[in-house]
Amino acid sequence: MLKSLRSARSIFRYLLPGDLLTVILSMVAITYLFQTLWSHQHASKVQIRLGDKIHATYDLNLQRDVHVHGPLGDAVIHISQGKVRFAKSPCHNQYCVHQGWLTHAGQVAICLPNQISLELIGEQKPYDSLNY
């Protein structure tokens, strides 16, 4: 114990203030970079909303069919290889199905009659809201 303290002291004896600053700054940089780069998720997600509630959020890389029960009935949302689309909808006009695949963050598909919306979420939102 005493020995290790002494050896630590001997190391610090040769450190100049500038060295210490370098050590501190590099540790700060590492901490910061770790936090900003490591913790971000690279996979985009799709957020499914039903009425005024967030129904679910799914990773886009897992292929799956999601069934959502809206006021008109069951809609099927197809997720595959980073894309998402309305595959089936009980609504009359099928505008939502005709919208096709959504691929980029910020894209939305809305089924007004059945009150279901899809929004692609990425690391950065290209815009806050959509004018249509």
Partner: protein, 378 residues
């Protein structure tokens, strides 16, 4: 030893500050979505506690619901009570007997009449019978049997806003064929109402989107609110722009309410001069600088520009006082000014110079394809 300890302490402090900054960075943004006016209402509030933001946006949604019940063009409030607008339409059809209306509705009628006159009748909320004939006064739009004779007769009956006589909150129509449909006005009115309410409640930053019509209050943290403009034929935005405090934006498109019959698209925007849905235009976007009634203008002003033929669109915009607009036409727009014949290489996108400066194009076809050019007015 002391020095080293101090150094470690310093590192620990800096690291913890960074961690807390990161936690703080989780922005104070509240976002809600709801369905009113037969469309999606999307409210973002920045910089308020979640609880307060939630209660404010719930209040706004309740106000919207009340307005929707009051102004609904075809749905009664319940089985034995029509909407206020429904009762008014029934009175117009019955004859010239004046009926009492709320001061709020009276104000709206004065306002819509002024806008209708300014647009030379291209914005005409009195053509409810025509809109109904085309099947757009329903929750879902299916193809209708087109009755050319009936349409001709309805156009000939000349329903106009100036047929309506308003005195001291009582109103009657000189023309029994007037049937009001405020579908091109109510959402804009609701935007102004919500913006007014939130400002009154000292909300500094909010973005309200009613079915694509958007008004901004303040900004999103340290940067302006940013909005995307939907591509009329792709499930993506064509461009983005910053919406500064008090600005509003609105788009009229043929892709939200329409039906297809024999391969032809019939959209909900009807030319009051001939009674038929407009087929030469896919979308018109207008951007409105801060002013009283900015929300209303963002809703109303796109209609006359949408309806006007290509050559008259700039004039239609000027008539209603619009400087910032974009037209996406069905066919390439020819610019006659430089004497060229229209050809396939010409763009179907027309942007006013004022708006062109504000847009950031996202669509790769517009950005990369030299055949698609953004034309500007002079």
């Amino acid at each position: 030893m002391r020095k080293g300890f101090a150094g470690l302490l310093l590192i620990a402090i800096i690291a913890s500050v960074l961690f807390s900054l990161r936690a703080y960075n989780k922005e104070p943004l509240y976002h809600s979505q709801s369905y009113v006016f037969g469309t999606l209402v999307d409210i973002s509030i920045y910089g308020e506690s979640e609880q307060r933001a939630k209660s404010l946006s719930n209040q706004v949604l309740q106000d919207f619901q009340r307005l929707n019940n009051q102004l609904h063009a075809w749905k009664p409030v319940n089985n034995n009570q029509p909407s206020e607008l429904g009762a008014l339409n029934a009175a117009f059809a019955a004859g010239k007997q004046p009926i009492a209306i709320s001061p709020q509705l009276a104000d709206m009628l004065v306002n819509t009449t002024a806008l209708s006159v300014k647009s030379h009748g291209m914005f005409n909320p009195a053509i409810g019978h025509l809109i109904g004939t085309w099947g757009f006064q329903r929750d879902e739009f299916s193809a209708v049997v087109i009755n050319d004779e009936k349409i001709k007769a309805l156009v000939k009956s000349k329903p106009r806003m100036t047929d309506i006589v308003i005195t001291n909150n009582t109103v009657y129509s000189n023309n029994p064929n007037v049937k009001l449909d405020l579908g091109g006005y109510a959402k804009g009115y609701a935007l102004d109402m919500a913006a007014h309410y939130l400002r009154q409640q000292k909300v500094k930053n909010a973005l309200i989107n009613i079915g694509g019509n958007i008004i901004a209050i303040g900004q999103h943290g340290n940067k302006p609110w940013r909005v995307g403009i939907q591509h009329p034929r792709k499930p993506a935005a064509i461009a983005t722009l910053d919406l500064a405090d008090g600005w509003a934006i609105g788009t009229s498109g043929d892709y939200q309410r329409y039906f297809i019959l024999n391969g032809k698209r019939y959209c909900h925007i009807i030319d009051p001069r001939n009674g038929y849905p407009v087929q030469h235009t896919q979308a018109v976007t207008v951007l409105i600088p801060p002013q009283p009634g900015a929300g209303v203008l963002s809703d109303v002003a796109s209609k006359p520009i949408f309806i006007a033929p290509a050559a008259d669109k700039a004039k239609a915009a000027a008539n209603i006082g619009i400087q910032y607009f974009m037209v996406i036409a069905q066919q390439p727009i020819s610019q006659r000014s430089n004497g060229q014949q229209p050809n396939a290489e010409q763009s179907n996108i027309l942007v006013s110079p004022a708006l062109a400066k504000k847009l950031d194009w996202l669509d790769s076809d517009v950005k990369n394809n030299s055949h698609v050019k953004v034309l500007t007015l002079r």
